[in-house]
Each structure stands twice: as C-alpha cells, then as structure tokens.
Symmetry: C2
Subunit: 175 residues, 2 copies
C-alpha cells in the first residue's frame, strides 16, 4: 500500500496496484528506472532518500517483480522487468497531470516516438502513426517547463546533468 501497511479487503485493482507501487518513493524509483537511473548510489543521491528506506523499497519492488537486480559493468543495477515496463502508461499519465496542474510554462519533460520523432499526446499515443509506443521506443528530453540549470549552488550532480540530454528510455546510464 502506499505507506507501510496494506489496503486490506479492497476488491479493487487500484488498491492492489498501490500496495505495490503506492508507497512513498516507489514510483519515483520506477520513474528513474525508466530514465536509466539504475544504481543504488545514483538513486540515493538523486532522490535524497535515506539509504535504509531505499534499500527497503528496492527490495519490495524486486519482490513484487517490478524491478530485477543484476550486475552491469561491475555494479549492481536495478532494471525494470516486463511488469515494471507495463507501468509506463500510469507513470506517463501522472507526469502529464503534474505538468498540467503545476507547470504553467509547459511540460518539464517531453517524450517522443523514436521512429516518428513526434511528441506523444496526452494519452501516450504517437500523433503521427497512431500507435501507443512502449517505453523502449520512446526518447525523452527536457521541455519548456524544465528548470534551467541553476548557475550557482547547489551544483547539480553529474547524473541529473546527463538526464538533461535527449536519450532513450530504459537504457541504463553508463559510467
């Protein structure tokens, strides 16, 4: 459930979904996994979450089959399973709602279909070809509502800086 206990006895798939990804930080971890942030230390720094809680969340997401842990370039990496990738429509819808609700300057981040180079519409469809691409076929880049790099402190960390360059979803950041 979100937050530490469960939504017992609810005959509703939203409740069961929230039992898995509704806890504090869980969806932000999943978002970062879509963006390619897969390493414990990167997540720790980028999210500003305590290590104990991060350990716990990663463990429950792995147990739930949303993430899997593997070795990549000599480090542990937490990457999305097919079930985790299936969260993309929900993550995208929440991002769009957040943009519409809290970002008058426009989306903070844009997503486009790599084969058509057209930005996705609000429901996640490619307006050119009409398909609703999976995360693997989507490229992201900052949008008009993105905060411009603050020139002074806090000096943004290298991982967040690399996320400002256009890149494909699901591809783990290297180095």
């Amino acid at each position: 459930m979100p937050l530490g206990t469960d939504y017992a006895g609810q005959d509703c798939s939203l409740a069961t979904a929230l039992e898995i990804v509704g806890e504090r930080w869980s969806l932000l971890i999943v978002r970062d996994a879509f963006l390619g942030v897969t390493r414990f230390s990167y997540l720790h720094r980028r999210l500003g979450i305590s290590k104990a809680v991060l350990t716990q969340r990663l463990g429950s997401l792995v147990d739930a089959g949303v993430l899997e842990r593997r070795r990549l370039d000599g480090h542990d990496a937490y990457t999305l399973t097919p079930s985790g990738e299936a969260l993309w429509p929900a993550v995208h819808a929440l991002i769009r709602w957040g943009d519409a609700t809290t970002s008058p300057a426009g989306p903070r981040r844009l997503f486009r279909h790599v084969t058509c180079t057209a930005d996705l519409d609000a429901s996640g469809r490619c307006p050119d070809c009409g398909v609703t691409p999976g995360a693997a076929d989507i490229e992201t880049r900052p949008g008009p509502g993105a905060r411009t790099d603050p020139p002074t402190d806090p000096p943004t960390d290298p991982v967040s800086r690399r996320l400002r360059e256009p890149h494909r979803l699901l591809v783990p950041l290297r180095g």
Copy 2:
C-alpha cells in the same frame, strides 16, 4: 509527497503530482469520487480509514483543487473538480496495471464508452470510435475478476453493493 512530507527540489512533474495525490489513501479517495462515492461517512466505511486521516486527506485534496466540497441532498459531498477529473487517465492506467499484475481471472472492473457501449482498451481509448473519453462519458460495471459477493459475513455495506450495479462515473450516489 506521498506520505506526509515533500519531494523537495525535484524538477519533475511526477514528484509534484505525487505531492498532491501520492499520499496514502489519496488516490483511493479520488477513485471513489469517480465511482460516485462522495460522502464522508461512505468513504470512512468503504475505505476503513481513520476519520482523522480522512479529514486531513479530504482537506488537502480540496486545498489542491482536486476535490470541492458542496452541499448535496442536505449532506456534504466531495466531488471532483475539472483538475480532479483530469486524473482519470492516471487512475485508469493504474487500475489496468493492477488488473494485469494481480488479477489472473481478468479485470475486476470494466469501463465502457457510453455512446458506443464498447469497453475501453488498455490506453483508455474506445476501440469503436477511437476517442479517449473523459470520465463523464464512461460507464462502469464489475468484470470477470470481481470477487463474487461473499454470501456470509462480512455482509457488504449498501454503498459497495450499489457500486456493483452498472453506472456512470462521476454521478454521486444518492440516498
């Protein structure tokens, strides 16, 4: 944030969205508002949430412009604002993911476009006419994965029983 504090300094619309609807219970309250459950006492009973927390969540959702409180039939009713209705794609996507992940018997609840009587697809579109209807044009009914009414105790409360009959979203339950 979900859960009591905030996701400070995140330049991400998902984080800002979760600050509003990511707390424990918030999205379940919004779901019930889509289903027509708008009264304090109904929410209290259906969700099994403590009254103090329900009061707090309703207050912050009203403050955030997701719900509005009004008088209806001599009672208070918390209904969705346009901003709250815009959460439908996110709520629908999470329900679909929960169905796919935790309900092998099929969706626990089905949604169809009232003008076409066709069930929505995974991305929320009507397969007949191709539009992505808003919540006001959607009718819901139990699906194959719904738990059949437990014949013995706990005797289900009247509100949940009425939610098993097909009905349109956003229409407050009366009586």
